[in-house]
């Protein structure tokens, strides 16, 4: 039919771009990961799964994976715990309040990380002045938590907005009915609000987990993975291997591994969300 072919034409440019910048590159990355490929030496040689064999015995990879997982779990949990009360505050309206909360989300992560780096500064930073004695970015114990704090500051607004949308979708009559039935506010929160908010919570968890797992900007700007690789996440490790060392083979293997992890997380969440509907 004429109409049908015109429809395909309307969609064709978008399809071509997505295939070109996303689908093919991922396939190409997998292909690259099966090579030994060092840019400066113009070396390019098929080596099968040797990169992945090395990856499994690479302590730095496992440490980066652990760091990434810890970062993701703690940051996302904190964002949800802070995001829910913030969402409930947002529910009472106030355009300025909403815009103010939105601001940390809107500014570039690189900018906010620089801003926090100044707050964390071991000599004159504001946090240092208020809480002397903690070298936030200098000590392996605190550096990762400092990065988590930056992520929480920046993305809690997003979580709060998703939860706000969920809260607004709860019919007011249900809450009224619970009150008429004699339930107290705490009871209403745990028996009505929270269960009905489940889909929104799961969705926020999905978006944020996938996003936190690929964390790069904040850590790159704050610590570049240091001190002593204590904050090195998968994206940082892969970036350094690719663009600092120019090792495109192993760097691609690290990228592919990161991709596989994100895919796994996504599939697990989609299964939960699917059950929800």
């Amino acid at each position: 039919m004429k109409a049908r072919s015109q429809a395909a034409l309307l969609a064709a440019p978008a399809m071509a771009i997505l295939a070109g910048v996303a689908v093919l590159p991922v396939l190409a990355a997998i292909w690259l990961s099966l090579h030994r490929s060092i840019l400066v030496f113009h070396e390019e040689r098929f080596i099968g799964i040797a990169n992945f064999r090395f990856l499994f015995s690479d302590g730095r990879f496992w440490s980066a994976l652990g760091t990434t997982a810890y970062f993701t779990a703690v940051a996302v949990a904190a964002e949800l715990l802070i995001g829910l009360p913030v969402a409930m505050l947002l529910q009472r309206g106030g355009g300025f309040f909403r815009a103010a909360i939105l601001l940390p989300w809107a500014i570039p992560t690189a900018v906010s990380a620089r801003m926090w780096a100044w707050l964390f500064n071991a000599d004159y930073g504001l946090l240092h002045r208020l809480l002397p004695g903690v070298d936030w970015l200098g000590s392996p114990r605190t550096a990762l938590h400092a990065a988590i704090l930056v992520d929480v500051w920046k993305t809690t607004p997003f979580v709060a907005l998703i939860l706000l949308a969920g809260l607004s979708a709860i019919p007011g009559d249900v809450v009224k009915a619970a009150r008429v039935d004699g339930a107290r506010p705490a009871r209403i929160f745990f028996s009505i609000t929270l269960p009905l908010l489940r889909p929104a919570i799961l969705l926020a968890l999905l978006f944020r987990s996938l996003d936190a797992f690929r964390v790069f900007d904040a850590i790159y700007v704050l610590t570049e993975g240091g001190p002593a690789n204590a904050t090195e996440t998968l994206s940082i490790y892969a970036y350094k291997t690719l663009l600092r060392s120019g090792d495109f083979g192993y760097g691609s293997a690290l990228s592919v591994a990161t991709f596989a992890c994100v895919l796994g997380i996504g599939l697990v969440f989609l299964r939960f969300l699917g059950r929800e509907r």
């Binding site: 109409a3 049908r4 015109q6 395909a8 309307l10 969609a11 440019p13 978008a14 399809m15 070109g20 910048v21 996303a22 093919l24 590159p25 991922v26 190409a28 990355a29 690259l32 106030g94 909403r98 815009a99 103010a100 909360i101 939105l102 601001l103 940390p104 809107a106 500014i107 570039p108 690189a110 900018v111 906010s112 620089r114 801003m115 100044w118 707050l119 500051w153 997003f158 907005l161 998703i162 969920g166 607004s168 889909p199 929104a200 996938l210 690929r214 790069f216 900007d217 700007v221 994206s235 892969a238 970036y239 690719l242 760097g251 691609s252 990228s255 990161t258 994100v262 996504g266 509907r277």
Partner: protein
Amino acid sequence: MKRLPVLVFFLGPLAWQVLTSFWPEPELTRALPHALTVANYAGLGTTFARAVLNSLLVAAGTTALCLAVGASAAFAVAKLEFRGRSLLFGGALAISMFPPIATVSPLYLVLRAAGLRDTLAGLILPYATFALPLTLWLLTSFFRDLPDELYRAARVDGCTPWQAFVHVFLPLSWPALATSAILVFIFSWNELLYALSFISTPSKRTIPVAIALFAGEHVEPWGQIAAASVVATVPLAFLTLFFQRRIVAGLTAGAVKE
């Protein structure tokens, strides 16, 4: 007044940064400055002005590309039947979850081969990886909410699918186009990893790269960094203040089933 601690947490660091940007560099060791100065802003120089311009160009280019390509595709997905319709929509959603690091290595090689590495134009296409799925998602849900009968009426009135898009659906979609444009602009303005990986010439850096790599000769110029941060933040502050409703609606589109 439960809002006060929340506001302090989210706005306090920004306020400190603004103060720092007006803080005379030699006085940074003091608890508070004696006097304020605009020297930090004056000292930013042309390199940073270039970065602002570069970011503007890349973000605007990405926005234009994604809206041009995304609007017709979203209309097709929402209202028409064609082969690959669910593949396009599902694929776009999946791609939006890709970690960007996964595509850095092949994109680097392709851009280098095409002579687009270290160019601003060479950033726009990679930015479509995250920007185009977002555009498709927002516009498709908008077009889906417009009644099917509107499309059928246009067809009976003699329109081809393309004419129905141009004469009926596009004029109706400016709110959704505006929302998509704002969000795509913000995401592109903020992107770091691709810009850091593909741009090497300092004069071609975007704001996030410039700020991430901002360095002085001996010590970190915190006052100037603060000034640069404020410059990078002001346009976004205006966007959020004026368009917060649109931004919120766009971010939470599809978060709840009607």
